[in-house]
Amino acid sequence: MTKTMTDVVCPFCGTLCDDLEVVVSDDGKQLKEVYNACVIGTEKFLHSQTKDRITRPRLKQPDGSWKEVSYDEAVEYTAQMLANAKKPLMYGWSSTNCEAQSVGHEIAEMAGACVDNTAAVCHGPTVIALQDIGLPSCTLGEIKNRADRILFWGCNPAHAHPRHMSRYSIYPRGFFTGKGQKSRKMIVVDPRVTDTAKLADVHLQVEQGRDYELLNAFRVALNNEWLPDVVAGIPAAKIREAADLCKNGRFGIIFFGMGVTQTLSKNHNIDEAIALTKHLNEFTKFSIMPMRGHYNVTGSGEVLGWQFGFPYSVDLTRGFARYNPGDTSSIDLLARGEVDAMFTIASDPGAHFPISCVKHIAKIPSVCIDPHQTPTSGVSKLHVPVAFVGVEVGGNAYRMDNVPIDMRKVVDPPAGMLTDEEFLTKVRDRLKQLKGKA
């Protein structure tokens, strides 16, 4: 026999869908089927069931082979590494729950470490911009019920957030958007003809690296000022038309992704996009929202924010929190050789960081806490597999619109496996002893 669990939350992307149905075996040990999720979400659940899963920590040997060790040995290695480092970096956090993040930050404070999350390589520039000029935002529910002007700027939800358009932004029939897609105008700004762009009413094929100029041109158009004939590869008349289309809506929203945060101008693109949103509010109601990638990168920013005052790239080495991406950010710390130990949890810098950074990780003592085998676990000295958060353990996560959602446990982890929070708690307690604080 099997049983079906409803209202399960998907721990994959920042859309954090909370309407999944999961079929599990009667003893709660096996996950059989997943309904309502998109392909990537389904895969995440089914991946926990693979037979060749690593269930115990492994320590790399001098000859490059792995040796299985106990969780206690892994705790000792991790605590010693953090106690002995002058400037350890504790990076990741985006694919685990807020409870684990909070314990991790206690460790970071004790170790005098730098703490950073995956915003470092995705929406960090967004955070910089919103600190500079604020963020007029809203919830996804408001968009579903009210928004009739949808801009996707430098993002491709058709592939990166597959259920975003159907659940919130384009197709659903909301309270004031009863005709669903027909009630909305969709504008996509992307240098490529993506699958999202193909669905758009207006596609502005911006020249690569010229988003800042195009955003500026929108604002110039709103002020009815002079414009050059062509900006960022787009005729001025078309820009004025698009600006009018935004102005004439009742409720608009700009969603933006890595196409603007990680291309030329970075935080300035977002800064100008927020300024445009503010500008549009002189004519109608407009909001703006980052398309956060990892399902709980938003939560990491929230927890770091309430504990240390800054949402990413926090430097605790001198006993108080400092924040200045460019100095305290992971890529810079690694590329400049500023850190002497690397602790990675719930993310994969080995796959996403520049090769010079990955080489530095390989040179220094390193621990990787991740249920999967990844390029990062491959270069790290110690790999600690843990239970899948959102599948084998619940906990809190924040959706891309800053709405906290409690995730559900659907199956048991393999016997004897620890969760992130359990492992971190042991490391914290051991570090306390080493630092003479217990």
Binding site: D132, V220, N223, H268, E272, T317, N324, G326
Partner: protein
């Protein structure tokens, strides 16, 4: 003026935070007392004397104190931070935050400086004989007060985000600059003798940018309004004159709308 010479003898494994290398902190101290001032390497605290040889005593006040920094200080941050008077001469290159928040005195770097030099500078003089990194004379993260006074001269090139949130003072760059000059500025002047790339004066409310070389791409918010003759450093030349950023909010002075000015040599 008394001279204190500090020479790197024992380079750090990581990076040093040495905001104590500053005439204000050295003033009134002997070489021995200076060697005892704190520096930080990651989460460990030690002293200037652990890394540097210190010779010579400081003057009674910052204004009477000159610091000469010798040896490899490429991994030393915050040299001259918050200095108010006196002089520092760095004989090589140095790292982040050189002369950050300085209010007076003169800091000369023979080599290059990395990012965030002269962050929030209020006065004094900074001369960089090599190249400057990103965010020269800009505001600290989240702050809206960039450089507000003093003078910066870069003999080489500068990185991106020169003068972000600048409020006053003057920056001259003899070489080229990377993208974003005077973003969000509300005053001050940046003179670029070489070439500029793009995104000059974006979201600028007030301020002046003068470019002698080329500009790859202009911001759409800059409207051409003719040519003018300007005198810069005693030499007169003709410049195309643009005003902007016309997309940004505007200030009024005596009932007139104030625009930023961008001049490009013709």
């Amino acid at each position: 003026m008394e001279t204190v010479t500090i020479t790197m003898k024992n380079p750090p494994a990581l990076y040093l935070e040495a905001d104590n290398i500053c005439p204000d902190k050295f003033a009134g101290k002997t070489a021995l007392q200076i060697a005892d001032l704190h520096v930080f390497e990651g989460n460990t605290t030690s002293t200037i004397g652990k890394y540097f040889d210190v010779s010579g005593n400081a003057g009674a006040s910052a204004a009477d104190t000159k610091i000469v920094v010798k040896g490899d200080v490429k991994k030393v941050k915050y040299i001259g931070m918050k200095m108010s008077a006196g002089e520092i001469g760095v004989e090589g290159s140095t790292d982040l935050y050189a002369g950050a928040w300085m209010t007076g005195g003169k800091l000369t770097v023979k080599g290059n400086v990395e990012a965030f030099a002269a962050t929030g500078m209020k006065g004094g003089e900074l001369v960089i004989e090599g190249n400057a990194g990103n965010y020269l004379g800009a505001a600290y993260r989240g702050d809206w007060r960039g450089m507000s006074g003093g003078k910066i001269l870069v003999k080489g090139n500068a990185g991106s985000d020169v003068g972000m949130y600048m409020l006053g003072g003057e920056i001259t760059i003899n070489g080229n600059v990377d993208v974003h000059v005077m973003t969000h500025a509300e005053g001050g002047k940046v003179i670029i003798k070489g070439n500029a790339k793009s995104k000059l004066g974006g979201q600028l409310v007030d301020g002046t940018i003068i470019v002698y070389g080329t500009i790859d791409v202009m911001m759409p918010g800059y409207k051409p309004i003719g040519t003018v003759e300007l005198e810069v450093d005693g030499a007169k030349s003709k410049f195309a004159h643009f005003i902007g950023d016309t997309g940004e909010r505007k200030k009024k002075r005596k009932g007139q709308i104030v625009y930023g000015n961008l001049y490009k040599k013709v």
